[in-house]
Amino acid sequence: MQSKKVSTHDVAHIADLAHIPVTEEEKENLAEAFTTTYGVVDILSKANTKGMTQTQQVTGLENVTRDDVIDETRMFSQEEALRNATTIHNGYFVVEQVLDKS
């Protein structure tokens, strides 16, 4: 892994993946920030991690489960669930159309 320069074209692609709207000026700044990040994380390639396993849980807990029982005291009413939505329709959340009608 070596430090490489990240282009505004790469930034546009990442922005699309992350669903973040960015202006042309932001693209320039982000390309620079990404390039700096490359430099900072570059050191990891030098660490000898032979024989190590990945950290999944820092205190070593595994497979924590609970009984599959519905806790009715924690359930939201429909009204509570919809209370913070900006647009609702007939008791539903309104989402953007994702499929083309034609």
Binding site: M1, V6, D10, V11, I14, A15, L17, A18, H19, I20, P21, V22, E26, L30, A33, F34, T36, T37, V40, V41, D42, I43, L44, S45, A47, N48, T49, M52, T53, Q54, T55, Q56, Q57, V58, T59, L61, V64, R66, R74, F76, E80, A81, R83, N84, A85, T86, F93, V94, V95
Partner: protein
């Protein structure tokens, strides 16, 4: 002395012995808020019913004391914004476990405090609602991300505060504001109802006026929670009663004072002085050269940890903040501020094919090395001591245009934070010209908060750096 200037422990004592009333206490607090909040920008919202609630809690552990709570803890009765315009005006439908535990023990959530938006930062300058200023000297930053909570304590507009830390967000602002800040072991205090930042590291904890207060608040909020599967079902040590047992025979390791960016600085010198003091209190003190690679594969240096933290934290942020789509609650993604955009995208970038090897996997492998190496090191030492921040508070505006500001600021805490270890900041020096503070970070092994609280208490008692003494 006004009642708002009391420590939590002393105010409870006074109240229960009828030398102080809730009315007097809350009037002093409200007067201080009125005088200071516009200038310092600490509280984003306050509960006007706080005094009324407190009056019913006389007999409880926390006796109706007013708490300042970071605005990334969900509270049913006060809006929760995480200092982001995305969540402006959001009224949570449920309560965080930490605030629930506080209230169960008789604490009152007096107000919600400013933070770096989504807790992304170490300055509180990235808040969408403007920066908080350092009450010790308003030309300076309070640090972050729990900058509002540390400022609330330093400005005496509460008796104690709650913050959250991923790597430094409790201890660094405590250091800059001259307070005590405890980051518990990961999994000791529930994350349920805390706006998620980096879930494998996020740890809620107290910011207080003294070590005794930190121990008390910790004992009220810690414990297994069925709504956070990473909390551990381990006994909570009786930290309040063991505080005063002293540190005779403690094995203290001084680290990071030889780091190239620290050598000879006031922050490093304060820790070296602390080492001498610990020795005089009966501890066995030695220096650990952690700034260099100890031997093959024995890395515990800040630089690898910064790399790991950058990848893991940004990666977890991009995943956790993917849920803000403006459909069920909050505004849409165009309302994210510049820093949140940058972190979400850096995370997406770190998890993408742009790197020639799987950088996330490599980071998690290297993280395992730190965990193992610290575990071994902490069989030889009871506590590790280093500066909390590399220096004093920086001036307003310092974090602008520096994408790695937080990482450099928190570099001394990242190695232990990625390893889940607990740590506490205690004031270790005061500069009379600027009225600013330095802080010292005391770390112990996982689940050993008792040890570090004892060391911190002994230090606090033997020095003059605590401004509430």
């Amino acid at each position: 002395m006004k009642a708002n200037e009391l420590t939590l422990t002393n105010a409870i004592k006074k109240l229960q012995s009828k030398k102080l009333s809730h009315k007097e206490l809350y009037e002093d607090i409200e007067e201080a808020v009125k005088r200071k909040n516009t200038q310092l920008n600490i509280y984003l919202s306050v509960d006007k019913q706080a005094q009324q609630k407190a009056e019913k809690l006389q007999q409880s552990v926390l006796a109706g004391m007013p708490f300042a709570v970071k605005d990334n803890f969900l509270t049913v009765e006060l809006p929760t914004t995480a200092s982001s315009k995305v969540l402006e005006g959001f009224m949570p439908p449920y309560e965080s476990t930490v605030t629930k535990n506080l209230m169960k023990n008789g604490g009152v959530v007096f107000g919600k405090t400013n933070l770096d938006a989504w807790a992304h930062g170490s300055s509180t300058e990235t808040s969408d609602f403007g920066p908080t200023k350092n009450p010790r000297n308003p030309e300076y930053l309070p640090g972050g991300s729990s900058g509002g909570s540390a400022a609330a304590v330093a400005a005496d507009v509460c008796l104690a505060a709650i913050g959250s830390e991923t790597a430094g967000s409790i201890r660094q602002p405590s250091s800059w504001c001259g307070c005590v800040g405890l980051k518990p072991t990961y999994g000791r205090v529930s994350r349920a109802g805390v706006v998620a930042m980096a879930s494998s590291m996020d740890s809620p904890g107290p910011i207080t006026k003294c070590v005794e207060d930190a121990a008390l608040v910790f004992s009220c909020i810690a414990g297994k929670d069925r709504y956070d599967a990473t909390t551990v079902d381990a006994p909570i040590p009786d930290v309040v009663h063991t505080l005063k047992d002293g540190i005779k025979g403690y094995r203290v390791g001084i680290c990071y004072v030889d780091h190239e960016k620290l050598k000879g600085t006031p922050a490093a010198n304060a820790v070296i002085e602390a080492g001498k003091l610990f020795e005089s209190l009966g501890a066995i003190v030695s220096y650990i050269p952690l700034s260099q690679q100890l031997e093959k594969n024995k890395i515990l240096t800040p630089d690898y940890a910064i790399g790991i933290y950058t990848v893991v934290q940004r990666g977890e942020v991009s995943s956790n903040l993917a849920r803000y789509d403006g459909i069920r609650y909050g505004a849409d993604r165009s309302k994210f501020g510049a820093e949140a955009k940058r972190r979400i995208m850096l995370g997406t970038f770190a998890l993408s094919k742009y790197f020639d090897e799987n950088i996330y996997e490599k980071a998690q492998l290297t993280r395992s090395l730190y965990i193992k190496n610290f575990e071994q090191l902490l069989t030889q030492y009871d506590v590790l001591v280093s500066p909390s921040s590399p220096g004093f508070a920086q001036k307003l505006g310092a974090s602008k245009n520096s994408p790695m500001f937080g990482e450099l600021e928190d570099m001394l805490m990242e190695p232990t934070s990625i390893s889940g270890l607990p740590g506490i900041n205690v004031p270790s020096y005061h500069d009379e010209t600027t009225n600013l503070y330095l802080g010292m970070n005391i770390v112990s092994g996982q689940w050993q908060e008792e040890k570090l609280l004892r060391a911190a208490y002994s230090f606090e008692q033997a020095t003059k750096w605590n401004s509430w003494k």
